[in-house]
């Protein structure tokens, strides 16, 4: 942004500045729109999968083993002659169910612990955060492996494991935002006004936490999908015959040399789902958490 020939380039910069502003606006909404469309698509497939799959996901077409994608089998078939597209669609349901339920559990616990801890502060906060830190010193995957490995792989155990290990992470995010709010004068005003702690936490603080929670939730959902897939890949997902993306990718990997598509088809579904969630999250972040203040920018 050199200021040479400012009179001449002034107009040009005005135009380019204008376009830049406009384009970045479009960009933000584009993130969100693509994200929402992908997400809705997956939710739709997840809910209606049994009615819209082109084939029965368990049906083995023995005359069509390890086939390339064709008009009949759009993504080809696996080594048992099952239609990969149908299986991927059915897998959507498993993944979305595990990922979204566990995210909701984590959000629920995180909101309650995070907001109360920040509100009461002092010793309560100290003890709660110590416990939180202990749970956070487990790598997520390791903790999930421990719980699922010991309790046995199943959808419910997966949900519990992911929900529990993500809760402390949500707690920390919610708490740090709640700490910004708890010192606001309107919270003091509510205290002076004689409101109960319950009212202050859930009626005064919580509405201001929603933007953070929604963004955090969408980020968590992306992680949860990846974690669910990863667990499936190492054999800790729901056991067969429940169709699971991670497990599909794992069990077909030995045949990757001849037929790569049974491995890459579920992977592609994961990538699209996670990109959808992430774009959605980014879009929300730009809208919900955008800072209003116009700051000086360095001319460097």
């Amino acid at each position: 942004m050199s200021k040479n020939d400012s009179t001449q380039s002034g107009f040009k910069e005005t135009i380019s500045g204008f376009l830049k502003n406009r384009l970045s606006k479009i960009n933000f909404t584009a993130n969100l729109i693509i994200g929402v469309v992908l997400l809705l698509g997956f939710v739709f497939i997840g809910i209606f999968a049994p009615y819209i799959t082109p084939h029965d996901s368990e049906e083995m077409y023995y005359e069509h083993l390890k086939e390339m994608p064709s008009a009949e089998f759009l993504l080809g078939t696996d080594r048992y002659g099952r239609d990969i597209l149908s299986r991927v669609m059915m897998g959507t349901r498993t993944t979305l169910l595990i990922a979204s339920t566990s995210t909701l559990i984590a959000l629920f616990l995180g909101i309650i612990f995070g907001a109360t801890s920040a509100y009461f502060g002092g010793r309560t906060d100290n003890i709660m955060m110590r416990i939180n830190d202990i749970f956070m010193s487990f790598p997520t995957l390791i903790f999930a492996m421990l719980v699922i490995g010991v309790l046995g792989p199943s959808m419910v155990n997966g949900i519990i494991a992911i929900g529990i290990i993500y809760a402390p992470r949500v707690t920390r995010v919610v708490r740090s935002q709640a700490l910004n709010i708890v010192h606001m004068e309107y919270i003091d005003a509510a205290k002076v006004g004689g409101e109960s702690s319950f009212y202050i936490i859930f009626r005064e603080m919580l509405p201001n936490l929603w933007p953070t929670i929604i963004v955090e939730g969408s980020i968590r959902l992306g992680y949860a999908i990846l974690l669910t897939a990863g667990l499936g890949y190492i054999g800790l997902g729901p056991p067969p015959p429940t169709p699971d993306w991670g497990l599909m990718a794992y069990s077909e990997r030995t045949y990757m040399f001849e037929t790569p598509w049974p491995v890459f088809a579920p992977c592609l579904a994961i990538v699209i789902a996670v990109i959808g969630v992430n774009l959605f999250g980014e879009g929300l972040k730009d809208i919900l958490l955008a800072k209003g203040s116009r700051k000086k920018e360095a001319k460097v």
Partner: protein
């Protein structure tokens, strides 16, 4: 230092013919772009600053004054553009300079002292290194030399133990000292032009007074031209040679300081001066004249006088066409059609402006109140064994510098903090923290907060905010709540249409009004006002002060008003407490405080007020050092470390007892009362004191 002037032939010629001003801004327009909307933030601004001259640019928030400063530095936000005009530094056009040329100019020939010293210093570098960096860049000095010069420079700005201070990090020194470091950085290359953007905003008055002294001293020593940006007319009057008043992106009046303050020409300037509570007044007081209305929307400007919508003198032509500058005296100009106004002196005059006759009954009483906060280094005694009382219907002011414990006192009374020792009683009954109080008790004490941006929950409408206490305390039946909310809004001069709005849709002053309405909703007996106007523009402050006085007279309730501005306190309060490091120095009526005998601290506070009235002479007392922290125990008088009138060991050893000057006026000082009474007053009208 070699003085490099531009060497192009035409410039030399110009230098020869006329004296080139250090800075010349002519016809500058600056526009900000926000999406598709254009904000012409600065329109056709011109001024010149000569060598060694201090030029003040005064405006309220949103006037664009800082934009002008950053335009001179060629450092506008990326969405800001200089559309037209010229900015020349010693004859060289800054706008045509390459980035490299600017790099050589910034910090060497043009320096800047920013607002908010803490964030303006790099938190991870030692302050000495930050000064030395400039010398390394511009003079190519080596490490040791640069450090030596930096330390010398820190000494020049009177930092204590410059060798040691140089090794400290910004967070380890006080706000005033941080600002001194920034001033040292600005002067260490002996620049020709210095731009100061509100350098004393956010500092305490006594610190501000010393920083202004320093700026004056450095200006004389280095013969630097200064562009001083501020909202504070008092500061400009005390520091600058010439001043321009900027309103909504246009300069409306310009002139030399003495004559402009004596006879302001533009209605806006007049209005601003009338908004400010007088420091030195006679016994009768007038209601303040607030400037009604708002800044115009810059995205939608009409060809008219920019100030016309808010101007009490506006005529038909003012709304039709924008006036241009006319001269109004020597070296003075005003952007107005008129220079003479028959100012109708219609301001309502109160015989006694302050609270009408407070009753004798004590409403709230603090007895040996103590509040300590445990910290890692020990207990911080925010309030240290103080006793005071507030009567029914009284306005009690608590005044002191930041960190003196005044807000903690307020929070203890309202029950947001638990007291560590001593007790607070209300109507004779002991009261504790808010959640332990009875519902009726909670209803009686309300609070108005300092920061308008944080006082209202951004997720609630004004109606939800105001009706909540009505519902909680069942002030009116459910069916009448809406009606009552409207009434409450009307008492704070807002209208029904505000009910459906969210806090971010209204201005700061309006938010404070809503906060006041919320406090009044429970029909309380006592309202704690914690610096409710300090973050507002003066023109808005005046309106809120008037409102507070009106409401107090109408409802006859008690206020405890926390503040740091003695003029405001004097305007409003019946009784004032001066607080220093958690202890009370002096209690009395405002008039007691403004006349000898003074507590030495009160005297210093008074002398640090930047006075706007012409023809007032002010004694100059400067407090050295910084306020002691309240963690290490201070034996004796809390003020002895900085007291200019310390009499000896007794001050260091024994805490002074309160001495009664006359009923209701107490001073806690070891100096005999006769000596305290014998000093010359701080203010004198129309006569000069030499000390």
């Amino acid at each position: 230092m070699k003085n490099e002037n531009s060497t192009s032939p035409e410039d030399t010629a110009r230098n020869a013919s006329t004296k080139t001003p250090v800075l010349s801004v002519s016809g500058v327009d600056i526009t900000y772009y926000s999406g598709a909307v254009k904000f012409p933030a600065i329109r056709d601004i011109s001024f010149e600053i000569g060598a060694g001259e201090a030029f003040g640019l005064v405006g309220e928030s949103g006037s664009g004054k800082s934009t002008v400063a950053y335009a001179v530095m060629q450092y506008l936000a990326s969405n800001g553009e200089i559309d037209s005009g010229d900015i020349a530094f010693s004859g060289a056009n800054l706008m045509k300079m390459s980035r490299k040329e600017l790099l050589g100019l910034r910090g060497l020939k043009i320096s800047m002292v920013p607002q908010d010293p803490l964030t303006s210093l790099n938190p991870s570098h030692r302050v000495g290194d930050q000064v030395a960096e400039i010398l390394k860049i511009h003079y190519k000095l080596n490490r040791d030399e640069a450090h030596k010069r930096a330390v010398a420079m820190l000494g020049q700005v009177h930092l204590p133990a410059p060798e040691l201070t140089a090794l400290k990090y910004p967070h380890q020194i006080s706000g005033g000292q941080q600002q001194r470091v920034l001033i040292a950085m600005a002067f260490c290359t002996n620049p020709e032009l210095l731009i100061m953007d509100e350098p004393t905003t956010g500092l305490d008055v006594t610190t501000q007074a010393r920083i202004l002294d320093l700026i004056r001293e450095m200006k004389l020593k280095h013969k630097t031209a200064i562009l001083y940006i501020t909202h504070d007319l008092g500061v400009v009057k005390n520091l600058c040679d010439r001043v321009a008043i900027i309103y909504a992106g246009e300069i409306v009046e310009e002139g030399d300081v003495a004559s402009l303050f004596k006879s302001p020409a533009h209605p806006y300037t007049q209005g601003l001066l009338k908004c400010i509570p007088k420091t030195y007044t006679h016994k009768t007081q007038k209601k303040l004249d607030a400037i009604e209305g708002f800044l115009p929307n810059l995205a939608d400007l009409k060809p008219a006088c920019i100030f016309a919508p808010r101007c009490t003198f506006a005529q038909e032509q003012c709304h039709q066409q924008a006036p241009s500058f006319i001269a109004c005296g020597e070296n003075r100009r005003t952007k107005c059609y008129f220079t003479e106004f028959d100012a109708p002196d219609d301001a309502e005059e109160y015989e006694n402006l302050r609270a009408s006759s407070p009753s004798k009954r004590v409403l709230v009483k603090a007895d040996r109140l103590k509040k300590v906060y445990p910290t890692k280094r020990g207990d911080l005694r925010a309030v240290d064994d103080t006793s005071f009382e507030c009567k029914r219907g009284e306005i009690l002011g608590i005044v002191g510098e930041s960190g003196c414990g005044k807000t903690t006192m307020a929070r203890c009374i309202v029950g947001l903090e638990d007291v560590s020792d001593g007790e607070i009683s209300y109507d004779g009954n002991k009261i504790g923290m808010v959640r332990k109080r009875s519902k009726e008790m909670r209803r009686k004490i309300q609070m108005v907060f300092q920061n308008p941006e944080a006082t209202l929950n951004p997720q609630k409408t004004i109606e939800e905010i105001i009706t909540r206490p009505l519902a909680l305390y069942k002030i009116v039946p459910k069916a009448k709540r809406h009606q009552k909310a409207v009434e409450l809004l009307e008492t704070v001069n807002l209208t029904e249409r505000y009910l459906s709005r969210y806090p971010h849709e209204i201005s700061g002053g309006e938010k404070q009004r809503v906060g006041i309405a919320r406090a009044f909703a429970t029909e309380p007996e006592l309202i704690i006002l914690d610096e409710p106007i300090s973050s507002l523009d003066v023109s808005v402050q005046a309106g809120i002060l008037n409102l507070l006085i009106d409401l107090q007279r109408k409802h006859h309730i008690a206020y405890i008003f926390i503040g740091h501005n003695l003029s405001v306190i004097r305007h409003l309060c019946n009784r004032v407490m001066v607080v220093y490091v958690g202890r009370i120095c002096e209690v009395g009526t405002p008039d007691d405080l403004f006349e000898p005998p003074y507590h030495p601290y009160t005297e210093a506070l008074l002398s640090a007020i930047p006075v706007v009235e012409p023809n007032i002479e002010q004694k100059e007392i400067r407090l050295q050092g910084i306020m002691p922290n309240a963690i290490d125990p201070i034996p004796g008088c809390a003020f002895h470390t900085r007291c200019p009138r310390k009499i000896g060991d007794v001050c260091e050893k024994n805490a002074p007892a309160e001495v009664e000057v006359k009923p209701g006026h107490h001073i806690a000082c070891h100096i005999p009362l006769e000596e305290l009474a014998a000093v010359n007053p701080v203010f004198k009208y129309g006569r000069r004191y030499v000390f």
